[in-house]
Every structure is written in C-alpha cells, then in structure tokens.
Symmetry: none
Subunit: 124 residues, 4 copies
DNA sequence: GTGGTCTAGACCACG
DNA sequence: GTGGTCTAGACCACA
C-alpha cells in the first residue's frame, strides 16, 4: 500500500504518483493489475479525490497505467515506460559521477562502490 | 559571473545559490574571495534584492560563504562544504545505481560507463 | 468478429460502433447481412448489453444499419452511409492539409505523400 | 483573445489549451510573449481559475509555454513543439487519405484538392 | 460503481 | 501580484 508523508517536501500527488511508478517499474505490480479506485484510495489515505486523480492522470500520461471510465485503472505494459525511465536515470548517473570525480573521487572508487551495498558505510 | 534563466524550472534564488555553490566547489572561487554585495548583484541581474538575499542566506547555512555585517560576503573554507556535498552525491549515486540495476542494468555495464564520456551515446 | 480493447481511449460503445462502421464501409459486411443480436454480442464480448445497444442505436442513427423489432439488425444500403463518411473525411482532409501547410509543409510534399505508403518513413 | 463555447463537446480546459497551441504554432504568438495570468484569463472568460491552470499546465507539459512562479506564463521556443505537432498531423494525413481511397477517391482527386481552397465546394 | 470535469475558495511559495 | 497545491462538493459519462 502507498505511504504518504506531510513532512515530505514533494506535493502529495507526486508522492502518490512516484510510489506507484516505482512499484510498477520494480515489478511489484504487474501489467493488468487493478489499482484502487480514486475514491477508495482517497478515503484510505484521507486525501481529497482530486489529488489522487491528478496522480493517476499523470501516471496515465506517462504510460504507466491505463484508466478506463466505469471500469477502473490498470497497470499498463511497462516496457516503454521502463525505457524512458532508464534513459532518465542514466543521464543522472552521468551527472552525478561527473560531479563526484570533479570533487576528487576516482573512477576506481566509484566502480568498487557499485553493488557494494554491504560495505557502504566505509565510503559515506 | 552568474547566469540565470527564466526558462529554468528552479526558482531564481536556487539558481543563484546553485551557481555559486558549483563555482566554489569547482575552485573557480577560492576561500576568502569576496562575493558581490546583495545590492550590486541584484541590480546587475535585474532581480529583486530579497531573492539574492535568500540565496546568500542559504549559501551561508550550507557553509559555503561567510557573511560579515558591514564588510560583505566571503567564500569560506571549501573543505567542509565539499565533504557535505560529496556525501549527498554518494547517496544519490547509490540510489540511482540501485534503481538502474532493478531495471536490468548490470554492474559491469555501469562500471564501464564511468568515465566513458567519449562513447556515452552508445548506452542511451 | 469485433475486437475491443480496454487500453483504447475510446469508450467501448464507440469501439463497437466504429468497428461495424468500418466493416460496412469496407464491404466486409454487405447490405442485408444480419448483425449478431444484442444479447449474443454482449455475451460473446463479456460486455454489458446496454453498451452494445447504444452502439447499435448510433449505427442506426448514422444510417449504417436498420433494426427491426423482433427480427434483428441488418446492414443498410451502404451508398448513403459512404457519402456521409466521405464528406466527413474530406473536411478533415482540408483541415489537416491546411494546418500542415501553415507549419511549413509544401503542397508538393503532401501531394507526393499521397499513396506513397512504401516510402512513408522518409517524411516522418 | 481566446473564445470558448459551452456547446463544444471538448471540455473547457482543452478548448483553452488547443486555442493557445494553435496560435503559438501559427506564429500569432511569438516566443517570449506573455500570456494573460491565470486569474486574469479566468475572470475575463468567467471560468474557474483551476480550469485555466490545468490548460496552462498541459501547455507547459507539451513544451508550448513556460510558467514561472511569481512572474507569469510565457510562450516558449516552439521549434520542438512544432516538430511533434507535424508528426501527429502527417500520421492523421496518412490515415485520412488511406480511408478516402478505400472509399473510392482517386489519388489524383486528392492531389488536386490540396491547396485548392477556392474551389472546395466542388468536391463536398 | 467507475473515472472525468468543473466550481468555489483556501493557503503557500516566489518576486 | 504571480503560479502551484489542496480541499470540499457537485455533476456528467460510462458500464
């Protein structure tokens, strides 16, 4: 289930949108799965239906879900959306590595860090 | 000199703050260098002085500059600021690599990408 | 047989209506042919009978079919329907060409494009 | 100035969005031109500000305008938006010509029709 | 019941 | 003053 926080700087509709986006890309939700209805989710989270609807609308514009009047909202085939997302992330990856190397990090240091979630504390 | 753009999604005070932050970290501005006064910069950029003041305030809170009443604002010792920035970037690095690998990128692929600015187009 | 898709932006009754409209104009269905009954089609497609009924009603209003109480629905003489449709399309043709030329496409370019399905990729 | 009609089947926000989109693509509005503020336009058209804002938001998402907090909304550089629009129109052009030829129109007939706004009545 | 649109009015962030 | 977000509640189209 989606978690939202009023302490988060992001507006609520973005938190809802990003949570679903993440779950869909991660495969937690599969193509064809039904999302909770706008009214259902809005009452479950104690949030105005319009706010949920905006999140759903943007998910649909991004190709993540497919909303059908009278039926509900369903997870779409994520292939295209995943491609777009991967391009975004690779661009951010280049930016971050570029700035880190400008700050003195070596290529070797960053290469070792990839996938090394276990010993992450050593470099922080 | 600082460049601001009205087409940028970021508010102006963030553009000013980030520009100086970047120049200080990159060594374009050295510790002790004097920044233009709020009045000077605001008239040079045709921007409300309040906006500049907010940028300077946040730069001081981040440890990038040091403002002295009646004297002006000066670049602080960059070592601490660079440490803070590096931690931020390493955290984002971990987030981005984590999500990329969840989307199917291999560790090897990402390791090869580091520093490979010349053949970047191949992976986009 | 009619195909409907929940991922289509159009409501279902429009998909049903447009599918038959297209088949009638293309000659796949000939004047006098009997359409499946509302009950038959609604159970075959697992769709609410009201939805099918609305599609049939609009097909009859458009002159594409002729419904006889107690007998069924039959494809009408296609000549009139085709005339109406052709007028619609010619109007859209004028609108589209007008806007394309306002965007810088030349008359020659559009003339060459007509019927050039083979080399379509060159102009996209 | 924008004209909206309650008799139009399109929702109001689409009418507003499409009107500006058209004016920007046609060059009636040039890059850098300021659009009326949300409040201004909403009171001029006697429409709720939220409705106008949605139109403006979609114009920004489409790359037609650029909205800046505290400053206003301005026409963006339309080059990219025009490209996207042209592709859309060329695709519709192909669809319409294809269906017209399936209905018996000849290539020659359609080629002559292009640009022939003066003698349009002959073919309707 | 579902999603979609619209209104009325509030508050915030920014300049 | 500007745009952006959120709420509360209404009505419509669709299944």
């Amino acid at each position: 289930m989606i978690q939202i926080s009023y302490r988060d700087a992001r507006p609520i509709y973005e938190q809802v949108r990003d949570s679903y986006q993440q779950q869909i890309l991660a495969g937690v939700l599969s193509p064809g799965d039904k999302l909770p209805s706008v009214r259902e989710l809005s009452s479950a989270l104690a949030i105005n239906p319009n706010t949920i609807q905006r999140a759903y609308r943007e998910l649909e514009q991004g190709g993540y879900i497919c909303s059908v009047r009278g039926k509900g909202s369903f997870v779409a085939n994520a292939a295209h959306a995943a491609d777009v997302r991967r391009k975004e992330l690779l661009q951010r990856f280049d930016e971050v590595t570029g700035e880190l190397m400008a700050l003195g990090c070596t290529e070797e240091e960053l290469r070792e860090r990839i996938g090394g979630g276990a010993d992450r504390a050593s470099g922080d």
